[in-house]
Amino acid sequence: MVRITRKIEFSSAHFYNNPNWSAEENRRVFGKCANIHGHGHNYVLEVTVAGEPDPETGMVLDLKELKKILQREVGDRLDHRHLNYEVPELAGKIPTCENIAMMIWGLLEPKIKQGKLDRIRLYESPDLFAECVADSVASNGRQPSRGPA
């Protein structure tokens, strides 16, 4: 099994607000992230796909194909957007790094047809990231082998 990883960057605005709480409670829990005018980040997403290289091409998944999927599912949806207002998949959720990563996992997993989505790591800054890992990897560190499609 081989893992391949591709990165994509996007820049978005967000703020944290739980509508069930008072403004004071939001400020107490979320600190400066609660500023309703929002702020932004340069997010970096690393996407890892695991599988066996196709004997004909030597590739787990053509990185050009992965690049297109990432642009369509992530870049077009999130880049230069306000995550609180412009991303229907995040409606009703607080756009934390954890929630954005889980949303991206849900978008990408069904789109990876060759190999299998293994892990994604979303950096909100160089010092903060959320990671999603496939259950098979999280449970025993091994991935069942999967032949070329």
């Binding site: 739980n18 979320f30 607080i94 954890e98 929630n99 889980m102 790591r121 959320a130 890992v133 999280a138």
Partner: protein
């Protein structure tokens, strides 16, 4: 799918790799220039990974407003600008290799109450990193 949260912190400290139980020659053979008697130092990076459910009220595994002060108080204040061999009690009996530093920091951060500690990774330099995941003893070392 399992989700986790990672946060990176930094401290600068000095250390000396030296085992009192073996001879000076053996220490030099074992630890090379890391055995230099006056010690040397690194800019350490500590990457802390927490797992656990995402709280629907906050969207978070752990609130950085709680995690950052905890790590600052328990680790950074104790390790930053210190001589690990003499100023961190654990290393008066343990050689402060970065393997042992990772285990010690894991032991300290396991007490963070709000989320489950999954992994501590320490970058001793940009070329060396060490990971400790607790009882499973899945300690890894990459060395260029």
């Amino acid at each position: 799918m399992k989700v986790s949260l990672g946060r990176r912190y930094r401290f600068a400290a000095s250390h000396r790799l030296h085992n009192e139980k073996v001879s000076a020659d053996e220490n030099r053979r074992l630890y090379g220039k890391c055995n230099s008697p006056f010690g040397h130092g690194h800019n350490y990076v500590v990457e802390v990974t927490l797992a656990g459910p995402v709280d629907p009220a906050t969207g978070m595994i752990a609130n950085l407003g709680e995690l950052d002060p905890f790590v600052e108080k328990e680790v950074i204040d104790a390790f930053d600008h210190k001589y690990l061999n003499e100023e961190v009690p654990e290393f008066q009996r343990l050689v402060p290799t970065t393997e042992n530093v990772a285990r010690e920091i894991f032991r300290i951060l396991e007490k963070f109450p709000a989320a489950k500690l999954e992994r501590v990774k320490i970058e001793e330099t940009s070329k060396n990193s060490f990971e400790y995941c607790g009882r499973l003893e899945r300690t890894g070392r990459t060395n260029e």
